[in-house]
Every structure is written in C-alpha cells, then in structure tokens.
C-alpha cells in the first residue's frame, strides 16, 4: 500500500487551493510601482516592405513615454533559434534573423512594427493608432509547395529560397528503402494534412520588465515554461546581459502546451524598455493578439507509403513531409519535424527500413513550433492512419495487422532503424486492455442499435509510442541542439527538518508541487506537508531546462531523487555520529534513523538540527548544514506507449460525429500520483480530439488569419466529451531512470487523433461509403458530409 502522501497515492493537488479560489499569482497579477504599459503595433499585411514609419504624432500624445522601432534595437541581437538542423547534403539549415521589431520588412500578420510605451494601456493603444506606417505590399507566400516553386517571392530576401532545410533520415537507408518498395508484395500510400493549431492556453502571454539602476539588475517576469532558458537566450544572444545581472521569474503560469517554451520578442522588449525608460514596462497579450503572435503548432503536409510482404509484415516506410516554419524560426522549430518526428516513424512496429524526408519551409505566417506532442503526433497520425488504410486495402483486421507487426516484449531493448532504442514495452498488453475496457467484443451489437436509429457507428484504434523525458544532452547535441537537456534540483533541509525543494522544472498545470513532494516524502519518510516545492525563479533555483516534452518527472524528478539521495547519505553520516555507530549500519525508515538490530534511533529532525547546530557533530569529517544539489542527465528518452480506442456515432444527415466512448490504455511505467496522471491524459485527449474534430488554424491566400478568434477557431468544450476511460495498469517501468517513470503529459494528444479519424472512416465503410479512404482533420460536419456526398 502506498504511504498516504507518498509514491502511488492520489494526493489532491495542493496548488489547486490557490488556483480554484482565484488566488494564483500570475504574471498579470504583478504590478510594480511606476509601471508603464506597452502596446505593439502589428502588421495587418502578411508581407510588405516598410518604407517609412512616422511616429511623431503618436509620440506627443497624452501619456506616451516613447515610441520604439527597430532602430532602438540596433545593438540587440535577433531572437535566437535553439536548434540547428543539418540537411541531407550536410549543410546547415538556412537561418534568418528574427528581429525584436520588424526591420525593413513585415513577414506575417501580427509581426510587430513599433511599440508604444505609455502611462496606461489605453493611451498606448490610442497612440499606436496614430503611428503612420507606409508599407509597400509584397506578394505573400502562404502555401508551402508554392513557396518552394521557382521564382516564388522570398520571405527573407537574404536567403537563397524559402527552403529552411531538406532533411533525410536515415539518408544512408534511402536506397535500401527504395529497393524494399521495389520488392514489396503490397504498397499502401496516403496523403494527408496535419492541421495547423493554436495552443490557446487559458492565460495569454504576459511580460513585465523591471530594471534597478543602482545594482544594474534586470528582472523579467514572464509566462514561461522555462525561465532559465529565457535568461540564457535573451541575456546571451539578444540583450547582452550576463546571467548575474538578469533574473527571470515565471510565477504561476496558466497553461503552456509548448507555446510558452520559446523566447519571444515581447520579453526582450519589456526587459530592454524598462532600462531605457527606468520604469517597469508591462505587456499583456489580448486573446486576439495571441492568435497572431503565439507560435502555432503542427502544419505538415505528408505523403507516407508502407511496403508489406506477402504475409503482411511491414518491410519499409517512406515519407515525404512539408513542414511549415512560418516567417521566422521559433526557438525549437527546426527540431520538431525532424528529431521529434522522424525518430518516431517506427511506431510500435518492427519495420526494418525507414526513410523520412522533411522539407521545412518559410511562409508569411506566424512561426510554428512545438505544441503538445510536438512532432510525435504528426508521426503517429500518419502511421496509424496508414496502417488502418492498409488493413482495409488488404482486407484484413486492423487489430491483427498491428499485432502481427508489433515489437514483442522479448525484443527490448529494441533498436529501431530511426536511431532510437526503446527500453521497455508490451504493446499487446495495452491493446488487450483497451479492447476489454472498450467492450469491443460487443461492438457489432451496438452498431446495429445505432443503425436502427439511422446513425452510423464506428470503432477506431490507434497505438502510439513517443519519446519523451527529453533528453540525453550529448545525443541532442549531436543532433543540433544548442542547449543541454538535463534537469536540476536543490534539496534544502531546514534546521527543524522541513524541506525546501528548488527544481529547475516549471509547473504550469502539471501539479509538480504535489507530485515532487510525494517523491521526497516517500524517500525520507516524512510528511509531504513538511516539503515545499519552489520553481520558476532563476534567482533561487539551479540552472534547469524547464518543462516540456513530458520531461518533468522523468528528468526533473530524477534530479530530485539524486539530490535527495545525497541528502540522505549525509544525514546518515550525521545519524551515525549521533548514534555512535558506523554509517553502513544506519537504516532510514519512516523518517527515523536507527542502528540495525538495536533500538537506538534518532528522528529526522534530530539529525537536521544537529546539521545546523553542530555542537555534537563530526566537524572534522563533515561540513555543517544539509543541502544538496544534483543535475540529472538521462541516458535515453523514455518511451510511453499505449492503445487508444474511440467509438463514435456519425449522423449521416449532418456529418456530425459524436464520441460515445474513448478508452486510453497507457503504459507510463511507474506512476507517482495516479489522479494527476489521469488528469494529464484527460487534457491531452481533449486537445487531441480537438485537433481531430474541431480545431483548425486557417490562412487565406493573402495571409490573413481566417480563424483569428473563438468565433471561427473551435476550441473543444466540456460538453463535447462524455468522459474518458483511462487505464495505466499495464506498465513496464522505464529501465534507466531511478523512479522507473515515463512521461504522461503529451500521450493523450499524440494517440487520440488517429483513433478518432479511424473511427470515422470505420463508420463510413460499414455504411458502404468505401470510396472514402481519408478525410483531413478536423473532421467537421461539413467535411464529413461533403466526403459522403462527393
């Protein structure tokens, strides 16, 4: 039985007390004395040359402190990109400058041209309307393939074309893959779009810059998933502020989903403007602004092919993908369609040969970067849709086709042909569990019942694997990452035994304050209530890489385990001294150190007090105090996997899809807090199903965002769902991190889109619409009906 607040217990989230009562402290809640407000004048055209900016009238309007343009940032660097991809020919990607304010050209609707800082927000907005900008409209490039056509207008005049890179993976396998297709008994192909999404966290982005001239200290409060990364990127590459003069604080953050990983121009602006004006400067994004300034997600166009032998074993996979980068390279953008996508193309299957080609393209649209799942949903979607299509084309059961090709439990560790080594897994087990929980055996009866009511019922499955717990630093360094991806923790044990944990991870919805306390409580045997988790402030947490890629427990939690073990080792020595025994004879259990085989013991607080009041203490051998820091760098990714089943009913009159039941059977390895894991899966499923049925970010041919508000961008709502069946009982613990955990944050968003689409295609085929082999997401009623009535 788990300790009631230790590992394995569904402890209620302690942070919810403040969140649910409206007492969270978000960046927008921070208001500093003398604070001024900035409003950004943003481009309303997708592509244009800035001929003149006249801000004289705006500058003299009431309350205006200063109007900034790119000239005010002449000495600053561009917003850096954190990952350099090398193309098929060994050349580095094309990497354009990303200025804080537009220099010479505007490249997407929303590109900031000028910024007005005023005493009030409304004054700044009023003045921005008075800025006269003379822009010569240039022809925009919106469609990726058109952007690569000969003679297409260039997003960046100084680059040779709109091609960021043409990546091949594994390039050396290309000929062998082509040969396998030549020898295949069956070839199945599918062309599809992975729709562009807007992350839409509940809290829009906010930045507050502050400057203390007496200490030459800069502080940035920002809505970030990784404050240390922002400090490094902005300090070293943009504003030339050394780390010891720059503090970045990301307090409570209301969701990120990837969109708050990146270093954004507005952060650098507020930090710099605060120094120029000697006033704190605050920016709060409106929701409309978020649509045109937060990095978007996905936006791939893919052709995927599968080769099979006569026995339906997969023999090769070949893909060609166009990946939209938008107008500039966001922080991790180049890595998403490559290393977070190509490496997952084996899925759960033992396909021996794989070749992935990705062409990353600049267009006059908002930059595209990681969004919950980041590359892995794109890989999973194409693979799982293709396998379903293959099963139909070959006339075999899609479940059996998957089982035939699954990597088997005795094959782990399994080296895939796309670089990664899966450590553990049991894919048949999660599939069996899903089918059981979905009551798949009696599906046909339910389908008949729907038919009697004039409705079409369908069942779709998808199996996924993802690589998370990002990532071994030496590996990602070879792959082009310009940062390490370790995580850090400091365990500061206080004199009376309470414990302050400082983590480099950042919680913005994940529940770290609860889960991390459970881990430490379990290890030392003290109450979780005596442990507090601090995060989000570079001035008191060790350099950490932050939270994304389902890494916090696997990497950040491991750092906490490592630091806690150091603490325990030292405490054991202190206890040995107090108990006059050898350290190796000291046992720690339930917060008490005792000498094995005796009744001699000392409480945790007795040891901690001795550490800080070292009157009876081995000062010649040990330093006083009890505080340890650890950095943990994983030796591999972790590989959560699972089987998802989606049962839908489709109204043939309207094309509307209703999800009747959704079952997620996930293998997350060991689980620290099952309730939080379940919540993470729920959230991921809502976003994945949102992508499949509702969400779509659409530009028109002029580069105007057609889905720029909730009037046209359909977010999933609670009443779109009937609840989820979530199981994580089939687990194969991760073999290389101390907790045996895998990540759970992105799984739902990765595995669910193909399950939903497969269910829809299943329903249509059962009703005789066999000409429909695919419908692009989102499967809106109009799209489904149009496919049925083509």
């Amino acid at each position: 039985m788990p300790k009631d607040d230790g590992i394995g217990a569904s402890v209620k989230r302690r942070e919810d007390n403040r969140f649910l009562t409206g007492n969270g402290r978000y960046t927008d809640d921070i208001n500093l004395r003398g604070q001024a407000y900035v409003h950004f004048l943003r481009s309303d055209v997708a592509h244009g040359r800035i001929k003149a900016i006249d801000s004289s009238a705006a500058g003299s309007m009431p309350g205006v402190l200063k109007v900034f343009t790119s000239a005010d940032f002449a000495s600053a660097g561009g917003i850096p990109c954190g990952w350099q991809v090398t193309d098929r020919h060994g050349q580095p990607m094309q990497e354009p400058k990303h200025p804080i304010l537009a220099e010479g050209k505007v490249r997407h609707v929303g590109d900031p041209i000028a910024a007005v800082v005023a005493e009030t927000y409304e004054q700044a907005r009023d003045a921005a309307e008075a800025i006269e900008v003379d822009i010569e409209d240039l022809e925009p490039v919106i469609d990726m393939k058109a952007a690569l056509a000969e003679g297409a207008p260039k997003v960046h005049d100084d680059l040779s074309s709109n091609l960021c890179y043409d990546w091949g993976f594994v390039e050396e396998n290309k000929d062998a893959v082509n040969a396998a297709f030549g020898n295949a008994a069956h070839v199945v192909s599918l062309e599809l779009t992975n729709n562009r999404l807007v992350a839409n966290p509940m809290e829009p982005r906010v930045a507050v810059g502050d400057y203390d001239p007496w200490g030459d200290m800069h502080t940035l409060y920002t809505t970030s998933q990784n404050p240390h990364v922002i400090r490094l990127l902005m300090g070293a590459f943009v504003l030339s502020i050394p780390e010891h003069k720059l503090r970045v604080v990301a307090p409570d953050v209301g969701g990120g989903f990837g969109s708050k990983i990146y270093h954004y121009a507005e952060e650098a602006f507020c930090t710099h403007a605060a120094k120029v004006l000697k006033r704190p400067v605050k920016w709060t994004s409106s929701r409309s602004e978020a649509f045109i300034s937060d990095a978007h997600g996905r936006d791939h166009k893919t052709k995927i092919e599968l080769a099979l032998d006569a026995d339906h074993n997969f023999t090769a996979i070949r893909t060609e993908t166009y990946a939209n980068m938008g107008a500039y390279l966001s922080t991790f953008a180049p890595s998403i369609p490559t290393w977070l996508h190509g490496t997952l193309m084996a899925g759960n299957y033992k396909t021996p040969l794989i070749y992935v080609n990705v062409k990353a393209v600049f267009t006059n649209t908002v930059p595209v970067d990681a969004y919950r799942g980041a590359g892995r949903p794109e890989a999973t979607f194409q693979l799982e849709r293709l396998i379903d299509k293959a099963a139909r084309q070959l006339g075999v059961d899609p479940i059996e086709l998957r089982r035939r090709n699954f990597i088997q439990p005795d094959q782990f560790p399994y080296q895939t042909p796309v670089a990664v080594v899966y450590d553990t897994g049991n894919y048949d087990a999660t599939l069996d569990k899903m089918l059981e929980l979905a009551d798949y055996a009696s599906f046909d009866k339910r389908a008949e019942e729907s038919k009697a009511r004039g409705k079409l019922r369908g069942f779709g499955i998808a199996h996924y694997i993802e690589a998370c717990g990002i990532a071994p630093s030496n590996l990602v360094g070879q792959l082009g990452a310009r940062a390490g991806l370790y995580e850090s923790a400091t365990i500061r044990v206080n004199a009376t035994g309470s414990i302050s944990v400082y983590t480099g991870s950042h919680s913005h919805g994940q529940g770290h304050e609860t889960t991390f306390a459970q881990v430490v409580a379990e290890m030392i045997g003290v109450d979780a209530d005596s442990i507090h988790i601090h995060h989000g402030d570079t001035s008191n947490t060790p350099m950490g890489m932050g939270t994304y890629g389902s890494r916090s427990l696997a990497v950040g939690g491991s750092a906490i385990v490592k630091a806690t073990n150091k603490v325990i080792d030292k405490a054991r020595k202190i206890a040995a001294h107090l108990l006059e025994a050898a350290p190796e004879d000291i046992e720690l259990k339930d917060g008490k150190f005792s000498v094995a085989g005796t009744d001699k013991s000392v409480d945790w607080s007795g040891v901690t007090l001795a550490a800080y009041v070292p009157h009876n203490y081995p000062l010649e051998d040990l330093e006083p105090g009890l505080e340890e820091t650890a950095f943990y760098d994983p030796s591999n990714f972790t590989y959560p996997a699972g089987a998802y089943g989606c049962e839908i009913e489709l109204d043939p009159e309207t094309g509307k899809i209703d999800i009747l039941r959704f079952v997620a059977a996930d293998d997350f390895g060991n689980v620290v807090n099952p309730m939080i894991v379940e919540g993470q899966v729920h959230g991921g499923l809502a976003q994945g199903i949102g992508q499949a049925l509702l969400e779509n970010c659409v530009y028109d041919e002029n580069g105007q965002l057609l889905s720029g508000s909730y009037m046209d961008y359909a977010m999933p709502r609670a009443d779109d769902f009937r609840g989820f069946v979530v199981d994580h009982s089939c687990n194969t613990p991760c073999t290389h991190n101390p907790l045996g955990v895998k990540g759970c944050g992105e799984a739902g968003a990765i595995g669910s889109p193909p399950a939903v689409v497969n269910a829809a295609i299943d329903a249509l085929h059962r009703a005789g619409h066999t000409h429909i082999t695919h419908i692009d997401m989102p499967l809106t009623p109009s799209r489904v009906w149009s496919a049925m009535n083509r």
């Binding site: 309207t654 509702l694 889905s707 046209d712 809106t780 009623p781 149009s786």
Partner: protein, 262 residues
Amino acid sequence: MHAFEFVKPSSIADAVKALASGEAIPLSGGQTLIPSMKARLNAPEVLVSLTGIAEMKGVCRDGDVLVVGAATTHAEVARAAAGDFPGLAGLAGKIGDPAVRSRGTIGGSLANNDPSACYPAAALGTGARIVTDRREIAADDFFQGMFTTALKEGEVITSVRLPIPEASAYAKFLQPASRFALTGVFVAKYAAGVRVAVTGASEGGVFRWAEAEAALSSDFDSEALSGLSVAAEGMISDLHGTPEYRAHLVRVMTRRAVAAAS
C-alpha cells in the same frame, strides 16, 4: 476601447431624444457591440443604454399575440414564454450560453440582424411585427440582408409582437466554433398556413422557404418535404460549411423542426 459617454434613460422618449444627436448609438444587451468596441472596430461618442426602460421589458399575451419588450433578455423570454409559446421559449433558451442569455435582448438581436442569429428566424417565421418608437414594421419588410434592417437612424425597437402559432419549433445546427446557427430553421403552423424561416445559411440573411411553406401548409408532416430542395447558390461559404452543405442543412433542419413541432 475608446472613451465614450454613457447615458441610461428610463423612458423611450428620453432614449429617442438622446439618440437624436447622431453621435450616439443604442446599447441593448451589448453582446455584439461591446466586443466590437473592445476590438476598436466601433467607437461611438455616446452610448444610450436601453436596458433601464421598464416599458421595454417583459413578456405578455395580447390575445393571439405574444408581446415581448425589446429589452427583454433571452433568459427571460425562455422562462416567460414557455407556457404560451414554447417554440419561442425553446429558441431563446438555446441562444449562446447562460451569460449571453442573461444580457442579450431580442431587440438587440433583431436590430443587429446577424445572418447567423436565432431571433430573426423566429420573427420572420411568425410574421411578427416589429414595433419601434415611431411605427410598426412587418418582419417580411424588416430584414433587408446581412446586418441590414428597415430601421432608420435613431429608430429604436420597443417591442416585438409575435403571433402565437398552433405549433412551432426551431431546429438549429451549431457552427462548431461560435455555436451560432450554421443553419437554423423556425417552423410555425397557423390556421392560415405554415411559415418557414431560415437563418445562418444565406448570404442574404434570414429568409423564408416558400416551397416548404406551401408543402407543409397542405400537410404538416416532415414527409411532405421530401423531394424539396434549396439551391446552393447564394448560400454562405466559409470555414464551417460549403454552400451545398448549408443548402442541405436547410432541408434537414426544416424536417427536424417539423418533427419537433408536430
């Protein structure tokens, strides 16, 4: 939003006077106007609130007509019309969400004449008379295309007189993002015949489907609609539906409205 002056008169006469300046525009529930002001798409000098005028509020029955004050909220109509005119109450009770229904008003909705709004279908589908501070306008003359009505500058809707049908229902297919009507059909059966009004579908705004009215007038049964169709030409094309899809939905929603009413 830009700064503006706010006036809240307590009588229709005062409201009309306040609106005469030309710089003023009326504010009812504000469900469209306030967001457009916040987005700086609209910047009136003066806002004249219509929600403090007692004579413009409430629902009452006048013989075979239900009289709804123009400043009556959707939530109030959903409650007060449930007994006399359940078809109207059902429509009002499904506009937007609870917050919208607690602020939005029938007069505001009709004056705005959003092509995807629900109320225009009820007004046209019942042959309502729109009462203003100076005249009565038949619904057939009132709606003049998307966001366009017969209202003159400064003219204020004070109440809406809706003939109570023998049977009625509204069937709405939701636009997935806004949850406005992607296509909504209001069907009302009177002794003199059946009226069918369609919202959300046409580029011309709310319209009557004459063929369906004729067929249903002789046989008020959804089967009577078989074989009838609406042309896709002139239907709205956007992210959420093709003209063909909307034309198809007109038939489906009409059938569903008839089934619900009968």
